[in-house]
Amino acid sequence: MKKNWFVEILLSSIGKKLLMAITGFSFCLFLTAHLIGNLTLYGGKFFFLSYVTRLHSLGIIINIAEICLLFMAIVHIGMGCLLFYENTKARPIKYAIKVSGGGRTIGSSTMPYTGLFLFLFIIMHLFNFHFVDKGEKTIYKIVTDILSNPFYVAFYIFAMGVVAIHVSHGFWSVFQTLGLNHPKYMPLIKNIGIAFSIIIGIGFGFIPIYISLFA
C-alpha cells in the first residue's frame, strides 16, 4: 500500500528531525513560561499562591495545554528513541578508536542520554508536584516540604544542569533543522541558545537553593 505523502514526509530522516525540532522548540517555550511562573516563588508564599490560583483559573485552557504537552512529549521521546535505534544500527561495527574532530559538543554527544534522564526526571517531578493530594496542603507547602530534603535539593539542581546541557544543543539545532540558517544571524542564534540554556539552568537551579535556605 502506498503511504500517504504526509506520513511519508514525517517518517523520512528529515521529517523525524523536523518533529524533534518543532516539539523541542515548543518545550523551550514551555520552559520559558514555567520559569517565569516559578520566579513568583521569590515573592513569597502569597505571591506564589496568587499566581497558582490565577493559572488554574484558566480552566479548560490549562487542560488543553497539558494534553498538547503530553502529545508533544510522546512524539519527542518516541522519535528520539527511533533515531537512537536507527543511528546505532547505521554503524554495526564500531570504531576501535573514535576521536571527535571538534564538531561535537557536550550537549550534542549526550542528547539521547540527557534525554532519557529528563524523561525519568519529569515523571518524578510530576509525582512530586502534580499527582499529589492538594486538598490538605497548599502547593507552596508541598514545594517547601520536598525542598527541605537535601537529596531533592541536590537532585533538582543536578537535573537543571542536565536540562541546560540538553537545550544547549537543541536550541540552535532547531534553526539548522528548519533550514533557518543565515550567515548574518546564525552566530546570534548560537549565542542566544547558549544564553537560553544558562538562564534555564541557573533560573530553575537556584530555586531549590533559595527555598531550602530561606523559605
Partner: protein, 254 residues
C-alpha cells in the same frame, strides 16, 4: 632536514566482506617524515611482498586530494588529524617517533569492507544515480554563460560542488549519516538556474534513497563539516532541509 621515524601500525585486516576482521601489528621503520601517509603504506607493502605475505589493501588514485578515492580512519579521525586534506595529502611529519598508529576502514552499514581498508562506497554512486544530476544538456561553455549567475551564488554552488564523494562525512558522523553528501549535491544543483527546475523532485528522491540505503539520521553533530577534506559546510545541510520543506509543502512533487 631529513628525519626518519619508527612507527608501530595497528591495521585492520579483513580478507573478504563476509570474513571476520582483526587488527594486525606492523613495524614501519626508518620512515622519512617527508613522505605521505600512503607512501608510508607503500613501503610497508613492499616489505610484505619481499616476505611473500599478503599486502595491505587500500584505495587510492590521484594522490593529490582531488579524486576522492583514498581514505581510512587514522587514530579515530577519517583522513587523519589534519583538517581540510585527504589521506594522500597527510604527511608523516605530523607523527612522532615510536608513535602507535591505528588504521581502520571507514565504518557505516552501507560501506561494506571489501578487503582490509577498502570499502564499497557504491551507495554514494546510487545516490547520484537517483537524482544527482539535471535532465537537460547544458551545452558547451558559451551556453553555460548565456544565463547570468551572480558571483555569490556561483561561489556557493562551487563550494558545494567541491565535494569529491570520498565518504569521510559518513565515516565521521556519529550516526553514519550521509546528509552532508546529499546536502552538497542538492545545494550544488538547486542553487543554479539549470538545476532549480527539478529541485523539488530531486531533494525528495535523494533523501528517500539515502534513508532506504540505510544511512543514519543527521542530528547536527557537525563532525562531517570538520572532517570534510573539501571543508563543505553544514550550511548545505540547512539548505537541504529548506529545499526538503519547500518540496514537501510548496510543490506538487511527491
Amino acid at each position: 632536514m631529513i628525519k626518519n621515524i619508527n612507527l608501530t601500525l595497528k591495521i585492520w585486516r579483513q580478507d573478504a566482506p563476509d570474513k571476520e576482521g582483526r587488527f594486525e601489528t606492523y613495524e614501519a621503520n626508518e620512515i622519512s617524515t617527508d613522505i605521505s601517509f600512503l607512501e608510508m603504506l607503500d613501503i610497508v607493502n613492499e616489505k610484505l611482498i619481499i616476505e611473500g605475505k599478503d599486502i595491505i589493501a587500500f584505495d587510492n588514485d590521484c594522490r593529490e586530494g582531488i579524486c576522492g578515492m583514498c581514505g581510512a580512519v587514522i587514530n579515530g579521525r577519517p583522513h587523519g588529524p589534519q583538517r581540510g586534506t585527504t589521506l594522500c595529502q597527510l604527511h608523516m611529519r605530523h607523527f612522532s617517533d615510536n608513535e602507535v598508529i591505528i588504521i581502520e576502514p571507514f565504518r557505516a552499514a552501507p560501506f561494506k569492507v571489501i578487503k582490509d581498508l577498502v570499502v564499497d562506497r557504491g551507495s554514494l554512486d546510487e545516490l547520484i544515480k537517483t537524482y544527482g544530476y539535471i535532465s537537460v544538456n547544458t551545452g558547451g561553455a558559451p551556453d553555460g554563460n548565456a544565463i547570468p549567475i551572480p558571483e555569490e551564488i556561483a561561489e556557493k554552488a562551487m563550494d558545494a560542488a567541491s565535494c569529491i564523494g570520498c565518504g569521510a562525512c559518513v565515516a565521521s558522523c556519529p550516526n553514519a549519516s550521509a546528509m552532508l553528501f546529499v546536502g552538497a549535491k542538492v545545494s550544488h544543483l538547486s542553487l543554479l538556474p539549470q538545476g532549480k527546475i527539478e529541485a523539488a523532485r530531486r531533494v525528495l528522491a535523494m533523501v528517500k534513497k539515502a534513508d532506504n540505503i540505510g544511512f543514519g539520521n543527521c542530528t547536527n553533530e557537525k563532525e562531517c563539516e570538520v572532517t570534510c577534506p573539501k571543508q563543505v559546510s553544514i550550511e548545505n545541510i540547512a539548505r537541504l532541509n529548506r529545499e526538503f520543506i519547500k518540496a514537501c509543502f510548496c510543490s506538487t512533487a511527491k
